[in-house]
């Protein structure tokens, strides 16, 4: 077991729909997907974004793409042109999620490459 940044296991892209941010998280290798599915629970993601997301967190699975999709409601200060945030379109929530530190079993750490972490 070793503690690494989620960034080493996954890549991601985020965007907006009104006041909601979506973060699509994709396993960098198919072997990582079951671990992500187990680790990135709604509860864990909600706690990670404490202070940034006011509403509910929803999660959807795309096993065909080794991906999870999170909807973070009430995350953009009203969204669109109402929002006063620099990141009013939620473009950087992708790496905000990938900052998470996770405990990875040793059979997976052997597969980690040099990505930051």
């Amino acid at each position: 077991m070793s503690r690494v940044l989620l960034y080493r296991l996954a890549h991601a892209r985020s965007g907006d729909k009104g006041d909601t941010v979506n973060v699509g998280v994709i396993a960098r290798r198919p072997e990582f997907f079951p671990f992500l599915r187990e680790t990135l629970t709604v509860d864990r993601v909600r706690k990670h974004f404490a202070g940034m997301v006011e509403g509910e967190v929803e999660r959807f699975e795309l096993p065909n793409l080794d991906a999870l999709n999170f909807l973070l409601h009430g995350a953009l200060g009203g969204g669109g042109t109402v929002s006063l945030m620099t990141d009013a379109q939620g473009k950087t929530f992708s790496t905000a999620l990938l900052r998470m530190e996770v405990d990875v079993p040793s059979e997976l750490t052997a597969l980690l490459e040099g990505a930051h972490g």
Binding site: G18, D19, G80
Partner: protein, 457 residues
């Protein structure tokens, strides 16, 4: 038989050279250009209210002047939602460019209109359409007097009709972004209205094409450190090579930069996604959990297997309305104690505004260089930060209060904390806040009013 549908523009303001390169650097059959975002419609509506000859994506007309000759020569047809709220005016501009380019009698321009329901809103509400906000359930009547634009998202069928009638260029108003890509497939392959699986394939192709280079290596986290080596300065925009069975290959022109790989396509597929099992469009509901990706060559990824379900009897309506005023002021504080100085300036400014009695709906402070992107996840400010930008934004119902705020930024230079700079741009610009109101409407209220016209240059 396959057809090649090239992406030329991911939003209004995207790389101007991209559509030109798509036409000139290799074979394509169709060029799609996406110009419209939610906020764009209200900007265009304002331009039209000042001048009825405006209200469309202005870049599109000179672009057509530049490439229409090549398109006619090579048999390439163009589909663009450049019409905004004035598709007829946009058409007139393109016809003039076509004649100027010596294409009289050799090009046809099609226009799709009827999506604009601004002038019908009062009547629709009177007849009992509440047009409730999809996010919070409020009826439209609450903000009806502040509405600035209202457009129904329309699907591929009117575009297909224009292509069937021989249009070289098809100009639409608020067509969905994805329809610009799959309308040519329906036209070329003659898919039936209830051929749900194939149309769903087209929707996925459209979703990949609609953000331009985001599907070919731009804005991607995959090995971004190799950015220079991957030739992103000459990035090739994506091209969909579609087959009659719905499957398609995503590729790009040979010799261009960037790359097409399954990982990069996955990033684009999840972009702006809601429930992946229900990607709702006017023509079909696509299930993104059925997408299969397969690398079949260098910069070639095959996409297939997508399942679709019947479309619904509603269309989405995008309504924009005036919701107050805002301004953003910035100042840069330098070492030492940059963050502490910026915080002190923020306190001073807020106290002055309180004393002057300004009422705002929201005042937001960010420190660019520390926490403006990741907020609390950025942790405490790094010790000894060389510099930081203080960014204060306000929003409120009264324009005069926001203007008064904008006059309070510069005085901080001589009356606030030291080693401050970055004020040369003048007072912050006061902008109108245009809010977005998504709603649903019965399809039967919109589709009988859609109009397709094709005019010879």
């Amino acid at each position: 038989m396959t057809i090649r549908i090239a992406s030329g523009q991911g939003f209004w303001g995207d790389l101007l050279s991209a559509p030109v390169e798509q036409v000139r650097r290799g074979p394509i059959d169709y060029l799609m250009l996406d110009y419209l975002a939610e906020v764009t419609m209200s900007i265009l509506q304002k331009q039209r209210s000042r001048d009825p000859a405006q209200g469309y994506a202005r870049d599109f007309v000179p672009l057509m002047g530049q490439i229409l000759g090549d398109c006619v020569e090579k048999g390439i047809r163009v589909v663009a939602n450049a019409g905004g709220v004035s598709p007829d005016a946009c058409r007139d501009g393109v016809l003039a460019e076509a004649r100027k380019a010596g294409l009289t009698g050799r090009a046809k321009v099609g226009v799709v209109s009827g999506d604009d329901i601004l002038h019908r809103l009062g009547e629709l509400v009177e007849r009992g359409h509440e047009l409730r906000n999809m996010d919070d359930g409020r009826p439209l009547s609450e903000i009806l007097d502040r509405v600035q634009s209202a457009n129904a998202y329309i699907g591929a069928r009117p575009i297909v009709e224009a292509l069937d009638k021989g249009a070289t260029v098809v100009i639409t108003g608020r067509s969905t972004d994805t329809a610009l890509t799959y309308a040519p497939m329906i036209h070329a392959f003659g898919w039936a209205r209830d051929d749900w699986d194939r149309i769903a394939c087209g929707v996925v192709a459209g979703h990949i094409n609609e953000c331009g280079a985001q599907a070919s290596g731009g804005n991607s986290l995959i090995e971004w450190e190799r950015f220079d080596e991957l030739g992103l300065s000459d990035v090739g925009f994506p091209i969909i090579e579609a087959s009659a069975d719905g499957s398609f290959v995503v590729t790009k022109h040979e010799g261009t930069g960037g790359r097409i790989t399954p990982a990069i396509l996955k990033e684009q597929i999840v972009y702006e996604m809601g429930d992946p099992r229900e990607y709702i469009t006017p023509d079909v509901i696509a299930d993104f959990t059925t997408i299969r990706l397969e690398e079949v060559g260098a910069d070639r990824v095959r996409v297939h297997g997508i399942a679709g379900r019947p479309n619904t009897d509603k269309l989405k309506v995008s309504i924009s309305y005036g919701a107050g005023w805002k301004a953003v002021g910035t100042l840069v504080y330098a070492w030492p104690q940059a963050v502490e100085k910026a915080r002190a300036a923020d306190r001073v400014l807020r106290e002055r505004m309180d004393r002057m009695g300004f009422a705002f709906d929201e005042v937001r402070t960010e420190f660019v260089g520390w926490n403006s992107a990741h907020g609390p996840l950025a942790g405490p400010p790094p010790p000894d930060l060389p510099e930081v930008e203080l960014r204060i934004a306000v929003r409120g119902p009264e324009r005069s209060a926001v203007e008064a705020f904008s006059r309070e930024i510069a005085p901080l230079v001589l009356t606030g904390p030291p080693t401050v700079t970055g004020f040369a741009g003048g007072r912050p610009r006061v902008q109108e806040v245009v809010a977005y109101w998504p709603a649903l409407i019965d399809r039967t209220e919109i589709e009988p009013n859609l109009r397709v016209e094709v005019t010879q240059a």
